[in-house]
């Protein structure tokens, strides 16, 4: 059909390019080479605490795993009754425990267990929580009701009771602990993710994506999920701290890592009796410090990541 326009459009397109060309070209020159990955890296590097924490955390993980690999298998359980309960010295930089085992070696070997448990359990919890929350929030209706009632059910069961029961069925081991903690701490994250999805799924950019023919799973994972990374990262870093502590409780109850095998959790527990705190404070102090440092650095890394991934940040 022929167009019948009396007012010929004053050609603005080519004009617009020319008018702003100098300014834009100049602007573009400074940033044209930046890929999104580079921008994210640059922003992260500007977050000083996060960078320090990342370096520390990587060093910690590498040290723990490499050193643990070099130590003899029974390093943590060597009994030296004459040197029991001795304070930090040249031979034992972090002192010894009730049976004379070197606390430093126990921390290294226990660290391997605790970090593995913490990282893997959080990975399971975050993955599960994100998928459940995303599906519930995106589809809504019956699926949402069903999944959220399951989450409510899980939350209403006393956590330790559930863990004890699962550990009893599966038998105590590192793997059991990881699975049990992972399967019992996804509910909080799923609720956060669901709430985020509920508010995001009706945004115009989601509708725009649907209008160009994006499939459901891509809408969920490529369009909506990246917009809820901030709360997920925060929840994950807090979750790591919780997982390390939870491992301590479970080990204390006798369903986790069994002494004399060390984990930071059961080391704090075994050093936490009144008599030991008074007579050999290092037994609780050093593993406690390790847990604190791990949790703290992971939190800082999480902070830095959240800011770096936020396209609105002006860093």
């Amino acid at each position: 059909m022929a167009k019948s326009r009396t007012n010929a459009p004053a050609t603005s397109r080519d004009g617009a390019v020319e008018v702003g060309a100098d300014l834009r070209a100049e602007e573009a020159k400074s940033r044209a080479i930046d890929t999104p990955g580079k921008i994210i890296r640059r922003r992260f590097l500007k977050h000083r605490m996060a960078v320090v924490s990342l370096i520390f955390f990587v060093l910690l993980v590498v040290t723990v795993f490499v050193w643990a690999f070099l130590l003899p298998a029974d390093a943590a359980t060597q009994v030296d009754i004459y040197n029991a309960n001795s304070g930090p010295s040249r031979a034992h930089p972090m002192g010894t425990d009730q049976v004379g085992s070197d606390v430093l070696k126990r921390i290294i070997l226990g660290g391997r267990v605790s970090l593995t448990v913490g990282l893997l359990a959080v990975t399971i919890a975050v993955t599960l929580g994100t998928i459940v929350g995303a599906v519930a929030g995106y589809y809504g209706g019956l699926i949402d009701n069903l999944l959220m009632r399951i989450a409510d059910m899980m939350l209403s069961i006393p956590l330790l009771l559930l863990i004890v029961m699962l550990a009893a069925i599966l038998g105590p081991s590192v793997r059991t602990i990881i699975i049990v903690i992972g399967l019992t701490s996804w509910m909080g994250i799923s609720r956060i993710v669901r709430a985020n999805f509920l508010s995001l799924k009706n945004k115009e950019f989601v509708e725009a994506a649907r209008s160009i023919g994006v499939k459901d799973y891509k809408l969920i994972f490529r369009h909506i999920l990246p917009n809820s990374t901030a709360p997920i990262i925060v929840a994950a870093t807090l979750g790591l701290a919780e997982a390390v502590l939870l491992e301590a409780y479970v080990s204390f109850l006798g369903y986790g890592i069994q002494p004399p095998d060390p984990s930071w959790g059961n080391m704090v527990t075994s050093g936490g009796f009144l008599v030991t705190i008074q007579q050999a404070p290092w037994m609780m102090f050093f593993p406690g410090i390790m847990i604190t440092l791990t949790v703290l650095t992971v939190n800082f890394i999480g902070d830095g990541l959240r800011d770096a991934l936020d396209p609105f940040s002006r860093l």
């Binding site: 059909m1 167009k3 019948s4 326009r5 007012n7 459009p9 004053a10 050609t11 603005s12 397109r13 080519d14 617009a16 390019v17 702003g20 060309a21 834009r24 070209a25 573009a28 940033r31 044209a32 930046d34 890929t35 999104p36 009701n145 945004k203 115009e204 950019f205 509708e207 725009a208 994506a209 649907r210 209008s211 160009i212 023919g213 994006v214 499939k215 369009h223 990246p226 917009n227 396209p311 609105f312």
Partner: protein
Amino acid sequence: MTVDGNTPAPQPGTDGVVSGDTLLDVRDLVMHFPLTKGIILQRKVGAVQAVDDISISIRKGETIGLVGESGCGKSTAGRAILQLYKPTAGQVLYEGRDLTKLGSNEMRRMRRHLQMIFQDPYASLNPRMTVGNIVGEPLQIHKIATNNKERSERVQELLKVVGLNPYFANRYPHEFSGGQRQRIGIARALAARPSFVVADEPVSALDVSIQAQVVNLLEELQDEFNLTYLFISHDLSVVRHIADRVAVMYLGKIVEIADRNSLYENPSHPYTKALLSAVPIPDPKVERKRERIILTGDVPSPINPPSGCRFHTRCPYVMDVCKERVPPLIKQKEGHEVACWLY
């Protein structure tokens, strides 16, 4: 009922029977949103009758303006035509194929021909995606440019077409102004080379000076890519500038549809007259002499619309028949149809 004035009405219900150059034929489209009550056992207690039985046939290459006040169902109509909402009833024939009957996979493939430009340039671009990814996504989905290099070349080309610097591809949407963002939205809509574009108030969120740029860009692109527009707007002067034919909606119904000049110079429906008289004229002499029709009352709720003609509660010329029977859309003269018992 068809509103295409030149051809006899095609038989409803038969796919494939469309007039020569009709691109999109909307027949008796109904979009009701159910209102439910109860938490577990939801029962339907009513419906928001957002779009009630509209028919419109759109010819290749033309621009249809769809005007009406806020909440009259014009955006819903656009979305229901594109199957972003599942219509309650009716047919949408695109080149003879009924879109309402397509499966979700078929519809997804079909979407490359039918695109949309959104109202809010701030909400319609994903803040976590770069401009390159936003504009390149339709290319990827519809397998138009599958490898990265080819895609980024196409994206740069598209950005140039809409008047943006091609180097902007690595930037995020929030770094742009409203007008630039709307250009990005237009580039995305054009990426898959569609033939039909629904523009849902594409300029109402922009400054007046930018509005002109974007409207002119839309017109240029129409000529360049042979596009057909459904231009939804409440801004009558913008519609007058861009549209070939104009449909006026009131409370879910089309009350008048006519060629642009015919509608603006000789509006027939009392509602259209009231709408046009509300447009200010930038000449105080004319403005003072002009008769203003001021409607009283509010738009009735689409949950419980008035019987008969939906406009009868506010119409200055209301008659008894208006309260009882729904006026059909009748041809008043060539290219001018109106739904009013006055004619």
